[in-house]
Amino acid sequence: MSASSKVPLERLPHGVRITLLVGGLALAAVPVVPMEGRDFYLQMLTQMMILAIFAMSLDLLQGVTGLVSLGHAAYFGLAGYALAFLTPANAPASLWWSLPAAALVAALAALVIGFFVVRTHGIYFIMVTMAFAQMVFFLFFDNKSLGGSDGSYVNFKPDATIAGWGGIDLENKTTFFYLTLALLVGVYLFLRRLLFSPFGRALAGIRANEHRMRALGYGTYGYKLTAFTLAGGLAGVAGYLWAAQTGYVNPELMGFHMSAHAIMMVILGGMGNFAGAIVGAFAFEYMLHLFKDMTKHWQLLMGSFILLVVIFAPRGLLGLLVRKKEEAHERNS
């Protein structure tokens, strides 16, 4: 049984692209539109964008390369903790070096863990990624010096001063929103570019038929490890932003539930094209908030929703959208 036998939706149809562009512009316009409870919505949307970056990083691994990782949150959490430790007790850390540093920490951890994990396949891979993430979880949970189960605080939001110009104030929710949006778009464009590069095509080949790729002369272990490391680093970017926004990190950020949520977001939206990961992240968070507001027993609703998706929409929401458009197109022609 392969990691995925479904054909990924790589090139998005024109109509879908337009819809996404409109959505993106609407998002960019939110801070400028006057509304009730603006701060609350800004905060919520920023959080969704951060999770979208997280989901995209997992999509590189899962949707493109076909590696199902149940421990991706480890790198998300590690970067968050990196910011917490890099921020001194009485001053902010500079965004310009703390963000790359945190992402680097996450990428390094992914490299080390990946070294062990990438040599396994199929179900083993799923299990060991989870196991190693749990190891990282316990490392922080059990050690008071690292914050323990109570976690750690990010005393100040990162400082974005460039050569003395303090124009970008991250304490301002709108500014932070736009920073996150910029990173979201940046990561998306980078990953789309990567998808159609020689590296990206090789990853797609590994997902489709790793055995043949090896027979054709590709060192698939190296390719998978590179993808794993890159995905870890990008998850780190998201984790950094999360810590910067909430000002607080705890081991749950590296936990099983966080990893599970990431997988659900990617599947929900549709794998392999990164736009699906963004859609999935927003949709998942939205549903979570919706269900939690509805009833104390929201888990029942969430579980049922997940079951419905996996039974009826295996290619995710984006896949569903594309299929509906294809059917409409056929009916009209």
Binding site: V7, P8, R193, F199, G205, N209, R212, R214
Partner: protein, 257 residues
């Protein structure tokens, strides 16, 4: 390319045991440049296992394989491929969701030996590499698939898929070709086309052919090896092998009933 034929692949004493059973037992094989060496035998003779041993898909229990003088017995499939070994599969082993062009292009790309962590190449477009595209186009043309280049591999006919199988192997620019039943499941016209193609490929390559189609085998083979129960019972020119009594009893005699 040298003027006099040379041995491009050499196997000595190749053995593979599964538990107590020896699927391949002490097989010696030489593949000469510009020659086609066919391996025949009844079902279960160990031909597929032999091909897998030569290509590196499975590890031998004993014996040695050398490609161009370099010992490759325990090397991985990808290492062997980069040393000049190409293999096509009996059960079509292509990327079904990609187009014919993308299938072959991916095969050709392997020759660029790009390191996955070479960040610069992350920002280039895979379709814009001239050398790769040229190699890809040549392989597709040789295999006769040019009109179908933009079709999705899953949608082309079985015979065309077998041609794609060969095209992909060719795009890796191998010196040694291991062909596992290339004519499997083909109709008369398609089979004739494939035989023509294989004859065209002789120049500059050493080819090993595992086949059941006896007409094709005798049309193509310069050398013949007959395997029964994992062992070689005869090896030599087709003429010699045909008249070998043991071979007639074990195999050809039944075929020509």
């Amino acid at each position: 390319m040298s003027a006099t034929p040379e041995v491009l692949l050499s196997a000595r004493g190749l053995t593979k045991r599964f538990g107590g059973l020896a699927a391949v037992n002490g097989v010696d094989l030489d593949l000469w440049c510009d020659r086609i060496h066919a391996v025949i035998g009844p079902n279960g003779a160990g031909k597929s296992t032999l091909t897998n041993l030569l290509s590196g898909d499975i590890e031998p229990t004993a014996g040695r394989v050398a490609i161009g003088g370099i010992d490759t017995t325990h090397k991985s499939p990808e290492a062997k491929s980069q040393l000049g070994l190409g293999r096509s599969y009996q059960k079509t082993n292509i990327f079904t969701s990609f187009t014919v062009w993308d299938n072959v292009r991916l095969a050709a790309q392997s020759r660029r030996r790009l390191a996955s962590w070479n960040v610069a190449q992350w920002f280039t477009s895979a379709d814009s590499q001239a050398a790769t595209n040229e190699s890809c186009e040549r392989a597709i043309e040789l295999a006769g698939l040019t009109p179908r280049a933009r079709a999705i591999a899953a949608t082309i006919s079985h015979g065309e898929q077998r041609q794609l199988e060969i095209a992909m192997t060719l795009a890796t620019e191998p010196q040694v070709l291991l062909l596992d039943e290339p004519l499997a499941g083909m109709g008369q016209a398609e089979a004739e086309r494939m035989v023509e193609l294989l004859l065209k490929l002789k120049k500059g390559h050493a080819m090993c052919l595992v086949e059941h189609d006896m007409d094709a085998v005798f049309a193509l083979a310069d050398q013949l090896t007959v395997m029964v129960n994992g062992q070689v019972i005869a090896s030599g020119t087709p003429g010699d092998v045909r008249s070998d009594a043991a071979v007639q009893a074990a195999y050809l005699g039944e075929e020509h009933q």
